[in-house]
Symmetry: C2
Subunit: 320 residues, 2 copies
């Protein structure tokens, strides 16, 4: 089975959800948003982990969809908070309708996620919901930390990694562990697949930071240097800040105030290359990537890891 | 046991929740909002129903708190949507912090509600969460209908009753049924106590509409005529509209455009009294009130109904 097989299964389920029709302004935003596409990475991970654990992917379909619903709920609300006009090239919910519609349809989507999860068999339900609740709280905490960092003078590398762990990585761990819960894996294996997902997520998020500035615009599919233009505290920036301090240079500060944004991006790239920030960030990415693979390889299950490795390759094929 | 006994128990639990401290801007809004006070009507109903069902209230404390958390989540988000500056005389979360903080702390409060519910014993958990999910979806639907009505030309009485049933009454039914689930009552009794709660809620909401215009400002504790000033489609207004149509008068329309708001309130009161709208609205209230009591009385449990009757009297003692 390859990746597209699982992706198709998820897409088929999502297009056949049969959400209620009324109130129209509550449910049509959900139909709109859930069908904007996207990688469906998280539900696919749940299905693949279930089969890796030795059971049919169909057994965890509702848990997989619950994760996808939760993820979309966070996107709808994050888009409001970030005042983002577009998502996957199309208007966000608060842009297409209004903010109140986006708040409330996000809320009901979170409840619908729990409803889907409740469809799983009683046998697994308490484990699933315990992990889901813990993860959902952490994702909210990560989003708050991300917003806090904007106005915070000092952010350490450790704080940054912890923020991306909470905001994006734990959900990948949760998605994978869902598959292992449903396939009745023991606690040791469950912990390992969770840890694989979290480390994979951190490596992937760091890659995102790198590609934002050093990616090929055609491959990445968006403008280059968005993070630099908005002075976002990414790993690259935080590493550069650390180095600038010890070198007692203030090149970084003067770049932040440069009004020609394209020039700012150009000069930032040059600085990051010069002081070795790109190289160091790649080391961080490699560290989490290797940690993920080691943990995956330590799972003693005789079933094929091919599908999971295909996901890993898919996630890192842009540059890796 | 009287009402205050249960209220004190709920207050004690809420002041000892031990919510996390960090991120500070995620959790301090929750500590602030959960301690603004309020009637704690919903959790008290759960505890009383549990004892009425023959078990200790302590058995359902987490389910009761889950209901209170859910209720507060809806208030935090509704306050954003209504642009309300005050809640119980103090600044709302989006006013005291900002809108993003209010969205995200509301979100995490909803997750925390599920976390509390998950503490209940496995035996009852699937029944509790099924009802909770259903209720939460309905409350969102009710809120959307309420917003829709603002810009909708025609709203029927039936549509209005359905909106208040969803927006406020089903949560009372859910709170009560939680107590009966935890005390292992049969399906028939569970359905009855739920129905009692829903009808009680509708009667209470209608009373709210009446008191807004015809209440004693000192007893009601807020200004009189707020609904008239904002041209809200309350039961009184919808009844008046119905009557105005058959009488082919347009008195109601001219009142809506009256710029002197205090005069508008005065003239609206006079009109509603003249055309018998107050009387008719009271009949609606009485109908749901009686339906509630009949259902309560039909529950064949030998334990005392005194505590529940005390709640009913507390809810309607302002005018009834």
């Amino acid at each position: 089975m390859n990746l597209n097989f699982y992706l198709d299964k998820v897409e088929a389920e999502i297009s056949n959800l049969g959400l209620p029709v009324k109130p129209e302004r509550l449910y049509s935003p959900l139909n709109y948003f859930l069908n904007l596409g996207g990688k469906r990475l998280r539900p696919v991970l749940t299905l693949i982990a279930t089969e890796f654990g030795g059971h049919s992917f169909q057994k965890s379909m509702d848990a997989a969809l619950a994760i996808e619903f939760f993820h979309n709920f966070t996107l709808i609300h994050d888009d409001i908070m970030d005042e983002a006009p577009l998502r996957r090239g199309l208007p966000t919910v608060h842009e297409k309708w209004n903010q109140n519609v986006a708040i409330l349809s996000g809320d009901v989507l979170l409840v619908k996620a729990y409803q889907l999860l409740s469809n799983q068999s009683k046998e697994h339900f308490s484990d699933l919901i315990w992990l889901f609740n813990k993860t959902a709280v952490e994702v909210c905490e990560g989003q708050q930390l991300d917003m806090d960092f904007e106005s915070q003078d000092q952010v350490t590398i450790d704080e940054y990694i912890e923020m991306i762990r909470l905001k994006t990585s734990v959900l990948l761990g949760c998605a994978l562990e869902f598959g292992f819960i449903v396939s009745n894996q023991n606690k040791e294996n469950r912990d390992k697949i969770y840890s694989f997902g979290v480390n994979l997520g951190i490596a992937f998020q760091i890659q995102d930071d790198l590609l934002d500035l050093f990616g090929d615009p055609e491959k990445v599919g968006k403008q280059i240097g968005g993070d630099v233009k908005s002075n976002k505290k990414t790993l690259l920036y935080l590493l550069a800040e650390e180095k600038s301090k010890s070198n007692s240079t203030n090149e970084l500060d003067s770049l932040k105030n440069m009004t020609d944004l394209d020039l700012r991006v150009q000069k930032t790239k040059e600085l990051y290359l010069k002081i070795g920030v790109l190289e160091e960030a790649k080391k961080y990415q490699e560290k989490y990537y290797q940690k993920a693979l080691e943990t995956l390889n330590s799972i003693e299950i005789s079933n094929s890891k091919n599908a999971l490795m295909e996901v890993v390759e898919f996630l890192f094929n842009r540059e890796h």
